[in-house]
Symmetry: C2
Subunit: 385 residues, 2 copies
Amino acid sequence: MPEVIADDSVGLVSPQLLHFDEPLTLRSGRVLPQYDLMIETYGELNADKSNAVLICHALSGDHHAAGYHSMDDAKPGWWDSAIGPGKPIDTNHFFVVALNNLGGCSGSTGPTSINPETGKEYGPDFPIVAVRDWVHSQARLADRLGIEQWAAVIGGSLGGMQVLRWSIQYPQRIRNAVIIASAPKLSAQNIAFNEVARQAIAKDPDFHNGHYLEHGTIPKTGLMQARMLGHLTYLSDDAMRQKFGRELKEGKLNYSFAPEFQVESYLHYQGEKFSTRFDANTYMLMTKALDYFDPAGDYDNDLVKCLAQTLCRFLVVSFTTDWRFSPARSEEIVNALVQVDKDVSYACIESESGHDAFLLPIPRYMAVFGAYMQRIARELGEDVA
Amino acid sequence: MPEVIADDSVGLVSPQLLHFDEPLTLRSGRVLPQYDLMIETYGELNADKSNAVLICHALSGDHHAAGYHSMDDAKPGWWDSAIGPGKPIDTNHFFVVALNNLGGCSGSTGPTSINPETGKEYGPDFPIVAVRDWVHSQARLADRLGIEQWAAVIGGSLGGMQVLRWSIQYPQRIRNAVIIASAPKLSAQNIAFNEVARQAIAKDPDFHNGHYLEHGTIPKTGLMQARMLGHLTYLSDDAMRQKFGRELKEGKLNYSFAPEFQVESYLHYQGEKFSTRFDANTYMLMTKALDYFDPAGDYDNDLVKCLAQTLCRFLVVSFTTDWRFSPARSEEIVNALVQVDKDVSYACIESESGHDAFLLPIPRYMAVFGAYMQRIARELGEDVA
């Protein structure tokens, strides 16, 4: 827990739950008659409401992006390294909005919420949501907050896909798109990893076809396995070599099937921890949204044509050892933007941390990101050093 | 099934079961009091027994490396593309020996065999075997066949590790080592993938801590998941992109959790097929042998020192898109051999097929491999075109 909160922290924060009564028609054709969004905000909205920044979360993220909920919190929000006074997303200049997406399990309407039509949890009956549905719900959130145009929409991984979708779906409502460690669509390999993870969950006898809450169980084992696999793909081969190598847990081989290498223990620990905090149906939904994302699909599979209509500036960032969404995938976005003469900055950051790098305060990453955000702040008339 | 058997096939073949009465002390310290090895041979042993070649199999391979067991067989042995008259391992010149390794499930003593001490299947009580144990048992097999020195020991992936171990453990008994798509030891990432696969099996309720045969079940689901993951890592991102891309099974998205993309269906099919033919305890054992393999561990973790004692010539082959055992891993072996002035040839083959490439008849691969083997045949006094 933080004994004192650092000067560059947003400090103690409180989430807010916003209710939306207007039905939301989803990509699948299904309709969510009403829903809640759990959000957090940091910094102050300026008088003309031009300094708002939206943070889009990745697979297992939520609305708690920065600061602490109480002095007892062991850890701050998931992107505290990037959000706060003097940080790249500088709360001295920006009004930052973070939310838990629909289908999530941290307060927004999702599989663990009560379905008003049945009076029971949605469970597996919660409709499959697509990235465009999230963006649609985020646009309504902007309406509610009186934000006509975001100064920037920012996200990494699945979050970056939401940013890309914003630039296409609401070109007038976004001035800057910051797309980090992302891709214009999943590859067959990406989809395959997701399916193996989903199978681990779906085949856990405690999953009960998603109706586990009614059975008083949770598919802990399946979630643990899904997370072990996910975690493994977020790290680079190099990072694992440096962090664990072939180090043994007990200094010697035991010739048994219990974890013997440190890397095995680490993955067990990560999987275990995740399996008690995350909802399995949400995990299934989030990976489906990843699989489906393919904005060029509506434009004859032509990403250039798809991005031609965007009006914002772009910052695209990738990391050298990210093999989940490699630099080549970010460069597909950059190259398509260049072909239609869009204003795009691109940085491929040297890092050994794989996909996870997007969450880490890597100096060159923070410098590039911070400089880009400062330019936006200066345009707002902010006094930036 | 083969309506006619091609001229370059070894044709119809029959496995033989050899019994060994002498106890085998394993690396773990446990002792296998007696055991059987299931083998196949192709070609003829020459008078001075100098033309014998040993084939070492990988994780899911066995003794049936080439030819057909009957005219009803749908497929030939697993390495039929490389073994036969006129093929790289040319049975006009070489006497080829292939075996199922100890711990296997295709006839050699393993978890599904009867433990003579209990009268029941070994199941999970079968001792964990290491690569050096296999090589030890293969040396006894050579003794049995009257083969003092192999003209070559050949293997890919886990098979290549056995070859490397042969060159260290029995330097006088091997003239040529052909190490394909292999590594001097697993990386943390490799171990992590194995552990995720083992967890899928171990946590299947039908696994019963390995005692599934006694319960009249098999852990099909776990094996299927392990194979889906394994298969995914054997293919390259490029190969999957070309083979499947984002192609849909039914031409449209269904917004459901059933497989929607072709790549998902393919992995399901591969996993399903494997789960009915392979023993789960064997899978567990084989992945442990992979994890443990680290011959330099006995030489102050110095691969150069470890390989200094080898006497054979080496052919090392890697494949550009193999990310399970990348070219860099093969080059560790090559560089260590070069440092101690060993006779080593190395080819990194351009291929889009990932780790699986080692099983495919890629023209440049077959040419390099064939030329190397022809040199050996010429030294035997064979008349090679």
